[in-house]
Symmetry: C2
Subunit: 547 residues, 2 copies
C-alpha cells in the first residue's frame, strides 16, 4: 500500500486554513497515486485546542469542516485526519478526539481516541471522553487499525508501569488489523524521539504489522512538535522518516525495502537549537509579528537568544538594545556590539543612568532614609524592562525574554524587569545547557564572542556582583534542580545523593518561594521532560518546602 505521510503544522483554531492545507496535500497525494493520505492528531483544529473545545460553535464549525473534507475525497485515495466528534448520551463531555477515515466522498469510520492523557502538559480528560469501541476497517485489501497518539503508548510488554488498564492496539490486532496507523501530536522533549522509535519498531515486530506513525511539526506557543513521522514494516524496520522540526510530505510503500535511515536524535545542542529556532519562528508567524527585540546584557543568555532570533527571523528582523549602567563592565558593551556586528543586526545603546537617577531622586523621600538594597538592583532591571517595552510598543516589535531555567527556578530574575517579554526562549535550558548550545554555534566561526562565553556570569546590578554571590556554582545548582524538577526527587533523596542537605534545602526553598514569579512569567519554550509553565502546577501559597 502506498501511503502519503502529511506532516503538517496547523494553526490552532484556524479551521479554514488547516482544512485548505489538508485538501491541498490530499490532492497532491492522490495525484501521486497514494492509496492513503494520513495527517496528524487534531490536524483540522491544531493541537492543543484547550478550552476552545468547550465552545459549541467551535465544535460545530469543526464538524462541518470535517464533513466537507470527507466530501472532497475520491475512491482511489483514503484520507485520515484528526478532528473532534460528539455524541449525546448526556453523560460526560460527549466529545471525542477522533481520527476521521474517509474516501469516495464519504466518512467511512470515525475512530475515537481510547487513552486520554492527563499528565504534565496534557489536559485531555478535561475535554475528551474515551472511545467505547475500536474498529478495524478494510480498505484496498488491507485491514486498517487506526489509533490516536497515546493509544499506542501502553503496550504491556514494553512498559513496566502502565498508565491505563486497557490497550487499544492489542484490541485492534485481535480484530485482525494488519496495518496500524497512529496519528499523533506529541510535544517534543529531548530524548523522546529515540524512545518513540524503539517502542514503535518493537510494536511492529511484535504484531507482525506495518505501522505508520504521523506526527505534526511546528510550535504552538510553548509546545514544540518535532515532526519525525515514522513508518515501519512488519519486521520493525524503518521505511520512512519525516523531517525534524519542519513540515514534510512523503510517500512510502509498505512493500518497499527498508531504508538505511535511522531517526536517532542528534546531539542535545543541535536538537535544542532547532527546536528553539522553530519556537521563535512559529510564535511570530502565527501571531503575525515580523520583528523582535532583545536586550543584550553582554552575558551568555541574551547572546544565545538574539542568535536564535536571527536564525528564526533573519538579521533584518531583529533589533538589539544595549542598556548600560554604572555597574556595567566595559566588556558588556564592547562584547555586545561585537555580537551585534557578527550577527549583522541593528542595535541601539541607551543608558539607564539618567532614569535611574531620576527615579531614585523622586523616591528618596518615600524611602525614609533606608539603605540601598535589592530595591535598587530591581529598579535597574525594571528600567531596562521599561525601555524595552517602550521600544516594543513604539515599533511593534515583539520582545523576547532571555532568562534561563536555572534563574527562573531560583527566582534569580526580576519580575517586570528582565522577565518582561512575550516568549521565554531559553527558559527550559539550565545555565550549563546554555553553554552547550553556544559551543555548537561557534563551531565554524566565532559568532558569539569568546569573551561572552568565558566571562563569569553576573547580573551587573551592583559593583563587582557575580551570580555566585547568590547562587551555588551552576554545575552544582543545575544538578540539584534537575533532580528536583525533572526527576521529582525531594529534599531527603537529593540531600543524600549530593551529600549536602543544607544546600539542597536552600535551593529547594528558593524554587518553591519563587512560584509567584513564575506565575507571571512569559511562556517557556519546552524542550525538556518537565518545563516551567503549563506542565508544572504548584500552589503559590503552600508550606511544604518550609517544613
Amino acid at each position: 500500500m502506498r501511503i502519503a505521510v502529511c506532516q503538517t503544522n496547523p494553526i490552532i483554531g484556524d479551521i479554514d486554513g488547516n482544512k485548505e492545507e489538508i485538501k491541498r496535500l490530499y490532492t497532491l497525494a492522490s495525484g501521486e497515486g497514494a492509496d492513503l493520505a494520513v495527517f496528524p492528531e487534531l490536524s483540522l483544529l491544531g493541537y492543543p485546542p484547550l478550552d476552545l473545545v468547550e465552545k459549541r460553535e467551535f465544535r460545530e464549525y469543526a464538524e462541518k469542516a470535517s464533513l466537507e473534507l470527507a466530501e472532497h475525497t475520491n475512491s482511489n485515495t483514503g484520507l485520515i485526519f484528526g478532528s473532534l466528534h460528539e455524541d449525546n448520551d448526556n453523560i460526560g463531555t460527549n466529545i471525542f478526539n477522533s481520527a476521521w477515515f474517509c474516501h469516495s466522498g464519504k466518512v467511512q469510520l470515525i475512530q475515537h481516541k481510547t487513552l486520554i492523557p492527563n499528565y504534565d502538559v496534557f489536559d485531555e480528560m478535561r475535554y475528551f471522553e474515551s472511545a467505547k469501541e475500536t474498529f478495524v476497517v478494510e480498505f484496498k485489501g488491507r485491514n486498517l487499525g487506526i489509533s490516536i497518539c497515546e493509544d499506542i503508548w501502553n503496550d504491556k510488554d514494553y512498559w513496566k508501569i502502565r498508565l491505563y488498564p486497557e490497550d487499544p492496539i492489542e484490541k485492534l490486532m485481535k480484530k485482525g488489523a494488519n496495518l496500524l496507523i497512529n496519528i499523533s501530536a506529541s510535544p517534543y522533549s529531548y530524548g523522546k524521539r529515540e524512545e518513540k522509535h524503539e517502542m514503535l519498531s518493537r510494536l511492529a515486530m511484535k504484531y507482525d504489522a506495518d505501522l505508520v506513525y504521523t506526527g505534526c511539526a511546528g510550535a504552538q506557543t510553548d509546545l514544540i512538535f518535532d515532526g519525525a513521522s515514522m513508518c515501519y514494516n512488519r519486521k520493525g524496520e524503518l521505511l520512512g522518516l519525516g523531517a525534524f522540526f519542519r513540515e514534510d510530505f512523503f510517500l512510502i510503500d509498505t512493500e518497499s525495502k527498508a531504508s538505511s535511515i535511522h531517526p536517532i536524535e542528534r546531539d542535545f545542542a543541535e536538537e535544542v537549537h532547532d527546536a528553539l529556532e522553530l519556537g521563535i519562528k512559529d510564535y511570530c508567524r502565527k501571531l503575525n509579528f515580523k520583528k523582535v527585540l532583545v536586550g543584550l546584557s553582554g552575558g551568555m543568555d541574551s547572546a544565545l537568544v538574539v542568535y536564535l532570533a536571527v536564525k528564526a527571523l533573519g538579521a533584518e528582523n531583529v533589533m538589539a538594545v544595549l542598556m548600560p549602567s554604572q555597574y556595567s563592565s566595559g566588556g558588556s558593551i564592547t562584547d555586545s556590539v561585537k555580537l551585534a556586528e557578527n550577527l549583522k543586526i541593528n542595535y541601539k545603546t541607551i543608558s539607564i543612568e539618567p532614569v535611574f537617577q531620576s527615579v531614585t531622586d523622586v523616591l528618596q523621600p518615600a524611602f525614609e532614609g533606608k539603605a540601598a538594597d535589592i530595591t535598587e538592583e530591581n529598579l535597574q532591571s525594571r528600567i531596562r524592562g521599561l525601555y524595552l517595552m517602550a521600544l516594543s510598543n513604539k515599533f511593534g516589535y515583539l520582545l523576547l525574554t532571555t532568562g534561563n531555567k536555572s534563574e527562573i527556578a531560583t527566582g534569580y530574575a526580576t519580575l517586570y524587569g528582565d522577565m518582561c517579554g512575550a516568549l521565554a526562549v531559553i527558559g527550559d535550558l539550565y545555565k550549563t545547557d546554555v553553554y552547550r548550545v553556544a559551543e555548537i554555534i561557534n563551531r565554524d566561526e566565532e559568532i558569539i564572542p569568546r569573551e561572552i562565553i568565558e566571562k563569569e556570569p553576573s547580573a551587573e546590578l551592583r559593583h563587582n556582583q557575580k551570580d555566585s554571590d547568590s547562587l551555588p556554582v551552576y554545575e552544582t545548582l543545575d544538578k540539584i534542580l534537575k533532580m528536583y524538577l525533572e526527576e521529582n526527587k525531594e529534599l531527603n533523596e537529593i540531600g543524600e545523593l549530593t551529600g549536602d542537605p543544607q544546600l539542597v534545602r536552600r535551593v529547594l526553598s528558593m524554587v518553591d518561594r519563587n512560584e509567584f514569579k513564575r506565575k507571571q512569567a512569559a511562556p517557556v519554550l519546552r524542550v525538556s521532560y518537565k518545563a516551567f509553565g503549563y506542565g508544572r502546577r504548584y500552589p503559590i501559597v503552600q508550606k511544604w518546602s518550609r517544613k
Copy 2:
C-alpha cells in the same frame, strides 16, 4: 448520633500544622462527647495540593501523619479526615484522594473518592485514580456511607446532564447506609451555595438518610472556600450550618429538631465582599506578609481594593500611593486623599512627571521622530508600576493589583504597569459589579467618596481620556463578556442575542488577542463560575476568533 463538624482552614503542604489542628479539634470534639468528628476533603494536605501529590516524599509524609492521627483516636469518638492513599498495582497513578475513618487507635476504613473532577479549576485526574469499590461501615449502631466531594454531585434524579456514569451515593445506599457523610473542598462561586443546599436536602429526603456535608473555609491563592458545612435530617431539613467564609466547629445531633436557619446566599455584593476580604487575608497570612500596598488612581477599582485590604488586614497595615501626572484630574488626588483619610491609612504622593520626562528624553533619539501613541500611555502606567514595586521591595509590603474583570478581559490594562502586583483582588468582578459592591460599603456612612463612585471611568493616560473612548459602555460590555466567558456562548449566538454582531466580534477579538497579557497576570480571586486563571485555559497563539 452526635457529630462534630470541623470546618478547618488548612495551609497547603503544611502537613504538620494541619495535623495538629485536626488533633486539637478531635480532642475538643471528644471532650464534648461527640460520636464522630468530621473534617473536610484532603484536610491534612490542604486543597488543592496540585503537583505536590506527584512527590513521593510528600506522599510518604502524608501517609505517616495519617497513621499518627489514627493512633491518636479513642473508642468513643470516630475521626474522619481527608488525606491521600496509595496502592501499587502498577497501572495509573496509584494514588487516591481518600477519607480516612479511624477510632480506637486504628484505621477502620480508607474510602477513596470515586468521581474525580477534571473541569474548570479541577485537575484531579492528573493525580488521583477512581475508587474501585465503596464500603459501608458500621459504627455505634449506624451504617456510615462516606463519600468525598464530587461523589455526591451526580444524582440521576437531580441532574439532567451528568458528568459520570456511576453514582457512588446510590451504591452506598444499596449497601445499607443510613448516615451519609460527605467531606468536601468545593471552591466558592456566587450562586453555588444555594444550589448545594437544594441538592443535598433533596438527596437526604430521597434516601431517607441523615446527611453531613463538611466543607473547608479559607482561601488558597486564587480559590476561596466558603465553609458553610450543612447537616440534614432524613426529611431533608437543616440541622446545622457552618459559618460563611471562616473556620467553624459545631456539634449536631442527628436526632435533634430541625433548626430554623437557612443557608441562603446573601446579596451578591455582601457575599463577594466577604469572599474577597478572606482572599486577601489568607494570601497574606499564609505567606507571612503583614502589610500591603495599593496604588490609588482616584477611580473606583483601586478604591474598592484598598477598602477590602483595610477590612482584611487593618488600617495600620495598608499603605496607599498616589502617583499623579499631568493628565490626572484635580479630583483624582483630592478624592484619593479623602478616601485614605476616611480609611485612616497612610499614603504617599509621588508624581510620575519627572521620571516620565526623563524616560521620554532618553528614549527620544531611539523613537526616531515617531509621534506619541499608546507607548507614552503605557509608559506612565509602567512608571507607576516601577514606583509601587520599589516601595514593595523597600518596605516588604505586598502589592495588590486593582484591575477588574472587564479590563482584564479586554486587555484594557498595561502589562508590567497597572497589572503589577501579587494578587488581583477584584479581577473576577466586572466593572458593573465593582459598583454593586461599592454601594454596600457606603450603606451606613460615606467611606468611598461619592465623587469616586460618580466620576466617569478613565485611565487618565492622556488629555480628557475616557474608558468609553476605547470600550463600549460597561453595561453593554459586561453583558457580552458574561455570555462569552461564563456562559460559553460564541460569536453568532451573542450577536443574535445582543443584536449587534459587529460589536460582539470586536469585543470577542479583544478578549482573545489579550490572552498573552492574562498569561502574565497575577492570580485572580475567584468568585464567579468562570474566572481568569487556572480554570480557564486558552492558547495564546490561535486564530479562532480571527476567522
